[in-house]
Symmetry: C2
Subunit: 352 residues, 2 copies
């Protein structure tokens, strides 16, 4: 079961509704690009690779739903849809990456008429989804080699099958290490405010049969300081050219605690998450989300704070590259100096 | 309105039930030492100074409820009650400190009969409660001098009137600085798992008219890294002789983030929280609390994680003394070397 997939009988996109897990498992059927935009904004789908592929499918929907007779008017509709999809969430670069790649590929069919463009967009988006799974499995193989047998790991947010099309990034590494027969124990950061760890990662780990315990994000430092943790694994939403990482809020504090206790921190990501156009993390836009995510836990309708209380809700933070032990990508494990090795990895991935 | 107070018409102890705030304001009436033990364990009352005074009142209840005719049997009952109160929670040293002080004071009345002991215990416990408020105000004066006008502060857990008999420790500093006319803005760490920040600190700040916003504990590092925070204020549950601090879970990661951004972190505490018998934080016992506090947010009955999921719930962590910019106590602001200055502060407090 893929997190996001194309319905050839649609046209439509199927998505697991991640807002309802683990209490309910429901599949959304989205029929327009606007519905995909909304699903991304409301985090029915989340995770940098998953929203990249979702945006690609959204653009494919815009194409096949179009009644344009002329290439030029179709193209204009595609650019409008692409603008909305691109703006759905600002931090993960995979959104832009997927849309740019799709438009680039489709532009080669401009001379062949609207139908050719439509067909090609759908095919290319599906190809991108398949590729995501292959890339994740390669990443996972590279990363699993870093995980010792008997390891206790801390994992932040959700980076599993649900954050991608399938298998996952950081959680994919854990899954592959487990499949290799390594005995693992995962301390699952609950990941406030939206609890992707407690809700989604714990749900995935239970399905894979990997032993785990949920902890408050606050408690990661305690376990690291007690010497019981062998490695910290996180994903990434955008990596700047110097190796600074935008990732789910809390990653920076977790990385500080790992570093303070000489525990390695690995950031696991496809090269599509690397943004060589930004020299450092300071230039990565950080999304501010609704205060209600903080104050109205689990949308219970019972706010945790007094009535009228305000909240701030930055969804990501920047972990400076000095706190990252290594990046795990589909082309291999990257060590410092990151400015050199990230650039080389992107080139290598493009020529493959 | 004091958090904890003696009912002379009782005998009974009145306590604000902090489990229900901010939704409900209810006063508990506790009539036995065992009820006080339970209130401390279940965190109807919490905060190192508040549970110290609560334990003192608990022992006073044990005394006045006793039907012992002989000093020796009364004394035995007091030791039994004191043992239970002492074991109610292991980390905050104020519990033991208060009980030791009370028993020591009462032992001087052993020659004067049971009634004299009973009367003296009640009087001494009340005296301790009054003293807590005076001490907090002195601490707050010392601490407020460290807070610049216009400051943005991060505050962890609750260290206000509710964590003490009145006024508070770290939050008392903020309150006094506000009373001095300083313009302040407080970023309130929500403080998972029990949300003392979002529930109690935000409630107090609203009453004092101090501007504030709740943030996920995860987000403190983000704000610190953006250069918008002037100081971090925390309390303490136990400080070892070398200055290592046991405090609410998450303090260590917060302190790392403050240090990484050259933002001062102040730990505010009465000298009764200093435990010179322990050379370092490694010897401070850390309480493991119920997994349900993590998994069943706000006791909603709707767990955040999949059914059957396990959790770990250490209630405190140790912040190494190297991450503490200064301690604020009733005898003044203490800078490194802490092994020298903490010892001197305890001596100074005892001779006052």
């Amino acid at each position: 079961m893929r997190t996001v997939r194309w319905d050839p009988d649609g046209p439509a996109v199927f998505m697991i509704d991640q807002r309802l897990l683990p209490a309910e498992f429901q599949i959304l059927t989205l029929k327009t690009a606007d519905e995909v935009v909304q699903a991304i904004q409301e985090m029915a789908v989340r995770g940098a690779p998953a929203i990249g592929v979702s945006a690609a499918f959204g653009l494919a929907l815009a194409a096949v739903n179009s009644r344009a007779q002329e290439v030029e008017s179709l193209w204009q509709e595609l650019e409008t849809a692409s603008g909305k999809l691109r703006a759905a969430r600002p931090t993960a670069v995979n959104l832009s990456w997927a849309l740019d790649r799709l438009l680039q590929a489709a532009s080669e069919f401009k001379g062949k008429g609207t139908e050719a463009i439509q067909e090609h967009l759908v095919a290319e988006a599906q190809c991108m989804a398949d590729e995501d799974v292959r890339i994740n499995r390669r990443m996972a193989e590279h990363g699993a080699a870093l995980i010792p047998d008997g390891a206790t790991l801390i994992h932040h947010c959700n980076t599993g099958a649900l954050a991608t099309v399938d298998h996952g990034t950081a959680l994919g590494v854990i899954r592959t290490a487990h499949e290799q027969g390594k005995r693992l124990h995962v301390l699952v950061d609950e990941t406030r405010p939206r609890l992707q760890g407690a809700r989604l990662t714990a749900w995935e780990l239970a399905q894979y049969g990997i032993p785990h315990e949920v902890i408050c994000d606050n408690a990661a430092g305690y376990f690291l300081s007690r010497g019981v943790v062998d490695a910290v694994l996180v994903g990434a939403d955008r990596v700047a050219a110097n190796g600074d990482v935008a990732n789910k809020i809390g990653t920076y504090m977790l990385a500080l605690a790992a570093s303070d206790n000489q525990v390695p921190l690995y950031s696991v990501l496809p090269t599509s998450t690397i943004d060589l156009t930004l020299p450092s993390g300071a230039e990565i836009p950080i999304e501010d989300r609704d205060a209600a995510e903080v104050l109205d836990l689990q949308r219970s309708g019972k706010p945790i704070a007094p009535a009228g209380c305000q909240a701030r809700n930055p969804a990501f933070d920047i972990t400076p590259h000095r706190l990252v032990t290594a990046f795990v990508t589909e082309v291999g494990v990257l060590h410092p100096p990151y400015d050199v090795h990230l650039r080389r990895a992107v080139q290598e991935a493009q020529t493959k």
